[in-house]
Structure formats: C-alpha cells, structure tokens
C-alpha cells in the first residue's frame, strides 16, 4: 500500500491555500506563547523526547554495568542511575508521554473542537512540566537521588544522602502539570464535542484519554501529599514514618502505592486507546465490541484504585489484606483480558495491511499479553512472595510499561506523523524499526523473568557469576533496543525535509482528524463538523469506509 492511492485533496482545494498551524506564525515567541493545542503538543513532544533519551542513557549504564558480575560503575553511581532511570522514565516520559503529545494534538481534532477548553492552562502545564524537569535534571547533575524511584522510608527519609529532596520536589511539581492536563481533557471531552459526537461515537483513543484523565485527576493529589510529607520528614523529622517516634514505615508504602499503582494504568490506558484506533484502520474492519472496549476501560479505571497493596504482600500487611488485594488484582486482569481478545478478534475477516503502525500495535498486543499473564503470577500470593523485588517483577512491569506503552507510543507517532507534519516517512525503515523493537525488547527482558525466578534481587550492582549468561543476553538485547528506539529519530527527522507530502487522509481512516488538511490549519476546521456515524465504519467486504462525518470513500 502506498499513500498515493488516496488523493482526496485536489490542488484547487481552498484548504491548501490556508496556512497550516506550523506556518501560520514563525517567530520563536509565537511558539513559546502559543495557545494552540497542536503547537503545545509539539512543545511537549520535544520535552519528553529529551527525557526519554536521558532516562535511556541511565538504562544503558545499568545494562552496561550488569554485563559483568563484578559491575563497572561505583556502587553509589549505580544506585543513583537506577533511581534516576525510574524517576525520569515514570514521571518525565511514560506518564506524560501519550496524553500530552497525541492527546493534546488529537483530542480536539477527533471530537471536532477548535482547541482544548483551557488553552492557557494547557500552555502553563508545559511550563510547569519543564520547571519540574529542570529540578529533576538538577538532582541528576548534582549526583542524583539514591533511594530507588519508590522512595521507601526510612531509607529515603533518614539514611540516603543523595539529592532526594530535589527529586521529590521535581515529582511534586510534575504532578501539577498532570493535574492541569487531565482537567483540561475532562472538561474538553465533556463540553466541546461536535454536534452528533455522542459518548458512544467517541473514538476509543478519546475514551482512553478520558479514562486516564479521571485516574490522573483523582490519584495525583495523593502523590503530592506523599512527596510533601517525605520532604517534611527529611528536613524536620516529624516522625510520621519513623517507628522510633511512633510512626509507621508501612504508611509510606500505602500512600505511595495508592498513587503509583493507578499510575501504571495512567501509563497503559492511553496506549490501549491508540491500539484500538490503529488496529481497525489497518485491519480495515470495525473494532470488535466497541461498547465492551469502553466498559473495560472504565472498569479498569475503577478497579485500579483497589489493588495498591499488592505491592506489599511481603511488607508486613495483614494476611487478610493480602488475600483481599490478591482478589482485586485478579479482577482488574479481567477487563484487560477482554481487551486483548477483542483486539485479536478485530483481525478476523479484515483486509490486513502490515504497515509500521500496525506492526507496532501487534507487538503491543503480544507484549501486553506476556506482561498480563506474568501479572497474574505476581497477583498470586505465594508466587509473588518468591518473585517480589526480584528481576521477575522488573521484567513484568517493563513488558507492560515499556513493551506495551512505548510500542503504542511509537505506533501513534508513525500513524499520526503525516497529520502532524504533513510528511510521509520511509515505510521500509519504519517497519524495520518496529520489528527491531520487538526483537530487542524480548531479548532484553525475557531473560529477566528467568533471572528473577532464580532469585536475582533487583537494585544490585553485583551478582553471582552463574547468572552472567542471562545478564549478557539482556544487555545485548538492550543495545538492539537502543538502536530500535533511536532509528525513528533519523528517518522521521529525514522525512521532515525530504519526505513526500502527505494527503489529508493517507491511511484511509474514519476519524474527524483526517478530514482536515495535513498538517491541519491553525483553527482545525473551517466549520464545525457534524458527526453522523460511530467510528471505524470500515467495510472489509467492499474495501470501503465511511468517515464519521458521513462521507463514503473507496479504499
């Protein structure tokens, strides 16, 4: 398939004459003071790309160190590297990644709005994010924090001597950016839908962003309290978490995971939205069970708040609390399982095109399934007792948060790249990068399941020599993964200058975002579109599709 099979914008189209959002104004100030959601999305994209590679650099050092049993780095440096890797990747890449970039760019376009509800708040969110980013970089450059990204007390409050306060403040400030962005999305999706865009006609990406915004808005304040209390404890020592003064170290874990388990769903829900968007487009058939997908998303939102203590099965909580949280953890796996089966069956009787976004999405489904079934294992109490705090858990959550989420992120980047930039990338290179990501990822993280069951503890700079073969495999995989993640920088960057111009709807997709020009004009739509259909009206039998605003097209 090539993009030229579909030329809907003729040369005489008035939309071509209108300047795109990229060229409407060109001064630096017009970017830094913009209130256009599309430009803010690109600003966020630049910021989180920087953090992705900073966090990736820390990961590179970690895997380099673990290639030999003795290690390469000083213990203090290694401890700071895994701490900063966690903090930067979780709060400065994974959590903001999809909502602030693709959410920002496409939510208004997909629901037929001119912008988000609060454009100035949106810009402020970017500045707050960068402020928190500067603070975390300060923490990193001064030597880094050294208590793990989970900041467990009393280690973090009384014993560790790294830049923990700076790191905690970075996370604290970062939370305000999350709250602003999520509030903006919720109000926008409630209030600014185009006529006819009923709730059950929303594309599933919009549902994914709506779901994640609800979790972000309700969970992030708890994180702010956590970080505030930790700072107070570290500086003044009120004894909140100190057992010698009547405090309780377990209290920190409850409060931390009350945010940080929902945070896992903050990372995966928008990714689920993306995959639900892309699979129908490339399978050329409607998504299997739209309503079921929406219900599953919202079920995850609710259940995600009742599973936090499954991080604490060996921490000294009551046995019966352990049993309760094991049960809820099994429950939260059910909607995820439904989604996996629905995505898979969405291939049935399709006309499947294996372009790069689709390859990334199929990779997502497989990696998410492996992450999911190992999630069942860690939800099973006695198995978790054995694998808790070992590399098994590391492998499990990297399958979900990196294998799945980052694959979806790259899927979205490729899928919407022509819309965002007006250019087409090299399909061959993109497919190569997608396959390389899948291979490199499995090679990196699958050996860690085995290491974990053998008993290799996490956060150790040295290990017994008999575990070296698995660690070498993992480090080798990491170097492949690094190439696979860096490749898109090259060919996507190349496409900006030399790529072919993209038509309005190069993939033949049904969403409203594809009815505007590529790249879209500053104000998105000439007139507010009227929605007459549910999304994903692809007809595999006749190879046609109907856009949400009602126009039929042959593929």
């Amino acid at each position: 398939m090539t993009a030229t099979t579909l030329e809907r914008t003729s040369a005489g189209d008035p939309r071509d004459a209108e300047a795109s959002y990229l060229t409407a104004e060109t001064t630096v100030a017009s970017w830094l003071l913009t209130r256009d959601h599309k430009r803010i999305a690109l600003l966020f994209f630049a910021s989180i790309t920087v953090f992705f590679f900073v966090g990736g650099l820390a990961a590179t050092l970690i895997r380099l160190n673990l290639a030999t049993p003795e290690g390469l780095l000083q213990p203090a440096v290694y401890n700071r590297m895994f701490t900063m890797h966690g903090i930067i990747m979780v709060w400065f890449f994974l959590i903001p990644s999809i909502p602030t970039t693709f959410g920002n760019f496409f939510i208004p376009l997909m629901i037929g709005a001119r912008d988000l509800a609060f454009p100035r708040v949106n810009l402020l969110s970017w500045y707050v994010f960068n402020l928190s980013g500067l603070v975390v970089l300060y923490s990193l450059l001064m030597g880094g924090a050294d208590a793990g990204w989970t900041f467990y007390v009393p280690l973090s409050a009384s014993f560790a001597n790294g830049y923990i306060f700076a790191a905690a403040m970075a996370v604290f400030i970062n939370g305000f950016s999350s709250i602003m962005t999520s509030l903006n999305f919720i109000v926008t999706i409630h209030r600014l839908r185009a006529p006819g865009m009923t709730w059950l006609r929303l594309p599933l990406f919009v549902w994914g962003i709506y779901a994640v915004s609800v979790v972000m808005l309700t969970a992030t304040p708890v994180l702010a309290m956590d970080m505030f209390l930790l700072s107070v404890e570290r500086f003044i020592g009120v004894g909140m978490f100190d057992p010698t003064r009547g405090g309780d170290p377990i209290l920190w874990q409850h409060m931390f995971w009350f945010y940080s388990h929902p945070a896992v769903y903050i990372m995966i829900l928008p990714a689920m939205g993306i995959v639900s968007e892309i699979i129908p487009c490339y399978a050329r058939r409607p998504i299997f069970g739209y309503t079921g997908m929406v219900l599953a998303l919202m079920a995850i939102v609710i259940l995600s708040f009742f599973v936090w203590a499954h991080h604490m099965f060996v921490a000294g909580i009551s046995i019966y609390a352990g049993v309760f949280f094991s049960l809820t953890s099994f429950f939260v796996a059910v909607p995820s399982a439904i989604k996996v089966f629905n995505w898979t069956v969405s291939l049935h009787k399709g006309r499947i095109v294996f372009d790069a976004p689709m390859l990334y999405c199929l990779g997502f489904v497989l990696l998410f399934t492996v992450g999911g079934v190992t999630g069942l294992m860690v939800a099973t109490l006695p198995v978790d007792v054995h694998v808790h705090d070992t590399y098994f858990v590391i492998a499990h959550f990297h399958y979900i948060m990196v294998g799945a989420t980052v694959s979806a992120y790259f899927a979205a980047l490729h899928y919407w790249w022509p819309k965002m930039t007006g250019r087409l990338y090299s399909e061959g290179w993109a497919r190569f990068a997608a396959i390389l990501t899948y291979v490199g990822f499995n090679l990196t993280f699958f050996p860690q399941f085995i290491l974990g069951y053998l008993g290799m503890p996490r956060r150790t700079y040295t290990y017994p020599a008999e575990w070296q073969p698995w660690n070498v495999l993992s480090s080798a995989g990491a170097s492949i993964l690094a190439i696979a993640y860096a490749l898109p920088l090259l060919y996507l960057g190349w496409s900006l200058f030399w790529g072919r111009k993209a038509s309005a709807n190069p993939w033949g997709a049904t969403g409203l975002e594809w009815t505007t020009a590529s790249p879209p004009p500053e104000h998105n739509f000439e007139r507010t579109p009227t929605v007459v259909h549910e999304p994903y009206r692809y007809d595999p039998e006749h190879d046609t599709f109907v856009s949400q605003e009602g126009s039929s097209h042959a593929r």
Binding site: P249, K349, T369, P382, L454
Partner: protein, 315 residues
Amino acid sequence: MYHWIPFWPDTAAVNADVVNALYVAELVVSGLIVATVAAMILIFGIRYRRGSDASRANLVQKTWRFELGWTAATLGAFLILFVWGAGIYIWLFQAPAGDEEVYVVGKRWMWKVEHPGGQREINALHVPVGKTIRVVMASEDVIHSFFVPAFRVKRDVVPGTLEAIWFKPNKTGTFRLECTQFCGLQHATMWGSVIVMTPADYGRWLTEQGVHKSLAEQGRDIFMAHGCSGCHGENSTVHAPSLAGLYGTYVHLQDGSVRFADEAYIRDCILTPRTFTVAGYPPVMPDFSGQLGEDDLLKLVAYIKSIGRNAESGR
C-alpha cells in the same frame, strides 16, 4: 525434581515444593493464553492479509456473546488460581511455634543470626534438615527483606516491629540468603548462606561454637540490669502483671481490646508500655524506647518467652 532444567532454582524446602506446583500450573495457563493470542494473530494475519481473497462477508455482529464467553472463562480460571494461591499464603505466612527457633537482625549491610543456645553467626544461618524452623526477625535501621530463593520464602524486615516466618528444609546443602529490599549503598553485598545440615551434624556444629550463655540467659541479665525484675519478678510487691506463661496467650487490655502475645507484642510492650496497659493494672511502667538495641530486645523477648515455657512445663 526440576534440577535438570538449567533455569530452575534449587528447591530445598516443603514450602518450595508447594509454590513450585502452583507456579508450574500458572506457567501452563500463561503459555496457553499467550499461544492462543499469538496463534489467532498469525492465522488471521495470513488468512485475511490484504491480498487474500478469503470471504469477508457476514462480520460478527453480536460481539457481546463472545465477550461474555471470555469474561466468564478468564474469571473462572483466575478465581481458581486466586483460591489456590490464597490458601498457600495463609499457610505460609502464619509461622507455627516450630521445632527450632532462630533470631535474625538485619543491619546495613549484614544479617546477624542468634541461636537460642547463644551461638552467633553473621551472613550465615545453620539449620537442621527436616525440622520446622521459626525465624524471628528485626531490623536495626531500614527495611530489609529476608529471602531464601531455594525455600521460596521472603519477608520484609521492617524496623519497629518483629516479623516471624518459617520454613522446613528437606534437602541438605548450602543455599543463598539474600536481602531483596533496597537498603542503601551496599545492598548488593548483603547476602549470605543458609547451611542445611543433618540433625547430627547440626548438633555437632552447635557444640563446636564454644560455650555461651543461652539467649534467654543473656535476656535474663538484661531483665535484671534494667530493673524489670523489680516489678515483674515473682516476689515483687508492685502490682505488675506476671510474665510467666504470657507468650502465646491472649491479653485483655485496659482499653477493652484483646491482643495475642507474640514476639512483636512483647517488644511493643517493652518500648511503649502505656499503649498496652493490661486490664486491671495501673499504667506505671516506664517507657524503654531508645534505651535498648534490637539485639537486647530480642534477648529480652527470648527470656520472657522462656519463662512462659518453664511455667507451662511446671504445671
């Protein structure tokens, strides 16, 4: 049983056999789920690729029937795994009295072990095979986690309380003992060995460690030195609850609550007695928090437990 699999850890305790069985069952279920998804993607991907001329007529409309099907199937399978796991966990996390007892203190970055006979070791734990071992654990500083992969046993050691776990080794040998909770700079080097010996060898090892006062006797010295015996002693005139036979009983407190007198309760009572005033007694005991290290506390606890047992056997 699994020793021929190069990526399988040692299995050297009854706890581990039980966990292994569950883990293997989960591997099978997981393998089936992943294989199903992968096979569907592969089959649909080939049959319905863009170029193929397979029929695309009559797409499934009533998707909810299928969704209901796999909701029920997954929920059923998950509930079986949950019940199986919960049963084991309840059994695994309630430490019985045990044939042998051992006290472990986690400290950055070492495991200090004290046997009831007064034998001490660091980063090593000698135990007899075929006996139920009860491990009472304390931390002197941050949270550590006591983990023996070959036994599939792990428990965080949280400062400010005592935790008890148990295992029953069924194979002699040397197995790795780890700390799995990140505890600072040299966390990676906080590991040692569990040496499982035949009872005869173990008995010989105990005697070879030289003559010591037993842990309870050392505790008795502390009990005297800190003046505990002045009130809790048998001939005391102060109205204080007797400690004989206390361990393992239920205690009625002034506030109406009932507490089980395990090691953690005894430790809490020593440190913050006013929080645990026993019904019918005046709240006169001074606070010992900050005055006793974890080592001394464990010895006191061992002593108080021992007077419980002596009284019981005397009856």
